[in-house]
């Protein structure tokens, strides 16, 4: 098994003909993801690379091809609208890769999705991959390998670094989820941890957090209360100065609760093994398995 996506994922790509959308669609198809349709307004009726049908709207694509997951590569100005559109068409898992969406747009997106029972992953995230089954987003398939470790992270390349450490030392992954670096995101650490706990194939989880907000502390609380599987944690930003946004819109220390030290202490209190550096991941994992 795996979480959120697997061999039954039927994927719709919003923004399939754009620069990023077309590049990553080819990567996803090459990985084996079942891409059933694409959407680009104005290009309905065409086929992507001569095969995948393109529609003007998500509603048309949903009616004709029955996707259960959508991935969004639409530029920031239209990305919130693309999320609304996917939810309106009844798609239950929406993965938004786009970076730079105004936070206030997301305050309106989230209740809309909640009312329709849809899950959003992201925005500003690398998406997810269940190695050997399906890849939705931009995580490079070649660094992953099938296995039993769940990975959940707020970051992109830092996640690749840690996946790389795991894979190269023989630890494959059940699913890797990038939940996104923005202040407001659709799916939290806690929700991913809950899904990994319920997934019989996942044996242990690596969570990669960073400064800003309190999502990691809440996740720690969840681990203490409800998780039986071992969890290994990392927090990026120990050297970040307060009040400065470290690239990600959400990575900013305001008050004392957002610091790396506070988060690492909270994870440790919850029984999570906390890495001092990314290279520690396998050693800590082996101590707990």
């Amino acid at each position: 098994m795996s979480i959120f996506i697997d061999q039954h994922t039927r994927l719709l790509v919003q923004g399939i003909t754009g620069r990023d959308g077309s590049f990553h669609t080819r990567q996803m198809i090459a990985y084996g993801t079942n891409v059933v349709a694409g959407v680009t307004p104005g290009k309905g009726g065409q086929r992507f690379d001569g095969a995948t049908p393109i529609y003007h709207t998500v509603a048309d694509a949903a009616r004709e091809t029955n996707p259960n997951t959508a991935v969004i590569y639409v530029p920031a100005a239209g990305a919130a609208s693309a999320i609304f559109e996917a939810a309106d068409a009844g798609i239950s898992l929406i993965v938004c890769i786009t970076e730079g969406i105004p936070v206030l747009d997301i305050t309106k997106v989230l209740p809309y999705l909640h009312e329709r029972g849809a899950r959003l992953i992201g925005p500003n995230c690398p998406g997810l991959i269940s190695p050997g089954k399906s890849k939705v987003g931009i995580i490079p398939g070649n660094i992953c390998k099938p296995g039993r470790i769940g990975v959940v992270s707020r970051s992109g390349t830092l996640t690749y670094e840690i996946i790389h450490q795991l894979s190269s030392r023989g630890y494959g992954q059940s699913t890797c989820v990038g939940i996104g670096g923005d202040p407001l995101i659709g799916t939290s650490f806690t929700e991913c941890l809950g899904a990994f706990e319920a997934d019989p194939e996942t044996q242990a989880v690596v969570m990669i957090g960073e400064i800003g907000g309190t999502d990691e502390q809440q996740a720690g609380e969840f681990v203490r209360r409800a998780m039986t599987k071992p969890v290994i944690g990392f927090i990026a930003g120990q050297t970040a100065p307060p009040g400065r946004r470290m690239g990600h819109a959400g990575a900013i220390i305001s008050g004392s609760s957002g610091t790396a030290a506070e988060k690492m202490a909270a994870l440790q209190r919850a029984g999570i093994s906390v890495m001092k550096r990314p290279a520690d991941v396998v050693e800590l994992l082996e101590q707990r398995l």
Binding site: I143, P183, M246, A249
Partner: protein, 382 residues
């Protein structure tokens, strides 16, 4: 993007919030003229306009009993340095008689995933201190963005601040307008501190702070035009124009990384191995060689930098593109400090070949690269 107090006051006034009129001076003479015109020679406040908290404690906010003293205060404050930033403008505003000082603010609350209004009757001081010491004195309301701030909610908050109906209603009106302004200008923070009452019972906003979500600027050119590039550190302004995210720190190891999370983890590892990072720099997902050139130019402009570390995890970014960028950059700039390069992932072998041909060595292990960069920085500094 931070706005100056005077810009925030103007925006709030545009949304109908009562804000006493003030004007900005860049010279003592202008301050004198504004004080005479707005206060008729009576007392005024002279306030440094700078993107830093604690202006008052730093001596950047002074009360003047008349226009002549306003000019003298302006002469002192203009050119003053507060938290590393030079004061270039002062706001001159008639000094109000204050009966009470409260606080009102809105932020996006990450926990409830909603905009949250916060009010406190204990305003005029550092609200974070009030929140830390006496959290019960802050009232919070997470607003449902589908319906906005409802009138009864605003009035309930108004009564938390004032016992008297007219003032509670006035405060409720101000909160509704503040909420409208929050969404209207694309803010991530909008606050009034103090929200004051005058001896004759008026409720007015005496000071305002607005931070704009950078992601809003593309669709709000009028707000983007409020950016004061002179109020930013020059290296950060240059990086922003080049499409890079850069934050200057005090260490000696210049860092150039793709991805914000990996950039933070790299800085942390520099510290772990006994060094200090000179900066945060994310070159982003693009492999454009010009970005690498710009990044190196910004890093090498810092005289504290004694070694430069590249840490690239090629996923979407192709390592060979970054390698070409490094070769190109070192052709354009004469580097005086050692360069340690770590590349792994997509097209790693091609990258190593390109770099080796140009006389550089490239590593694939992150820890090894960081150790070498720290050692190189120390050897140079010694």
């Amino acid at each position: 993007m931070n706005l100056h107090e005077y810009q925030a006051r103007e925006l709030l006034a545009r949304y109908g919030i009562p804000v006493p009129r003030g004007e900005v001076a860049e010279t003592p003479e202008q301050a004198l003229a504004i004080a005479q015109r707005l206060a008729g020679g009576g007392p005024v406040m002279v306030k440094a306009q700078v993107h830093a908290g604690g202006r008052g404690k730093a001596g950047g906010v002074k009360r003047a009993k008349d226009a002549a003293e306003a000019a003298r205060h302006a002469a002192t404050i203009l050119g003053m340095t507060i938290k590393g930033l030079t004061v270039r403008k002062v706001l001159v505003v008639p000094a109000a008689d204050i009966a009470t000082e409260s606080y009102a603010g809105i932020v996006v609350d990450r926990e409830s995933r909603r905009p949250a209004l916060m009010i406190s009757a204990a305003g005029g001081v550092d609200i974070e201190e009030v929140a830390a010491r006496t959290p019960e004195r802050i009232h919070r309301l997470a607003v449902d963005p589908r319906y906005g701030l409802l009138p009864h909610q605003a009035l309930t908050l108004g009564f938390q601040l004032y016992g008297e109906l007219a003032q509670a209603r006035a405060a409720a009106g101000i909160l509704e307008k503040l909420y409208a302004a929050f969404y209207g200008v694309g803010a991530s923070l909008a606050e009034i501190n103090p929200l004051a009452t005058t001896p004759d019972g008026q409720v007015v906003a005496l000071d305002a702070k607005i931070v704009i979500d950078d992601n809003e600027l593309d669709r709000r050119p009028d707000i983007a035009a409020l950016r004061d590039a002179t109020a930013e550190a020059p290296s950060e302004a240059r990086a922003r124009e080049a499409g890079l995210t850069f934050i200057k720190l005090d260490g000696a190891v210049g860092c150039c990384v793709n991805g914000a999370g990996l950039a933070m983890a790299t800085m942390d590892l520099v510290k772990y191995y006994g060094g200090e990072p000179a900066n945060f720099l994310d070159i982003g997902g693009s492999s454009n060689p010009q970005k690498v050139v710009n990044a190196l130019r910004i890093i090498t402009a810092d005289p504290n930098v004694t070694a430069i570390l590249f840490n690239i995890f090629g996923g979407i970014t192709r390592c060979d593109d970054v390698a070409n960028g490094i070769v190109e950059a070192t052709r354009q700039l004469s580097l005086k400090v050692p360069l340690v390069i770590r590349l792994t992932g997509t097209n790693e072998a091609e990258a190593v070949q390109i770099l080796t041909a140009a006389g550089f060595s490239a590593l694939t292990d992150m820890d090894e690269a960081v150790k070498r960069a720290v050692a190189a920085a120390k050897a140079r500094a010694a």
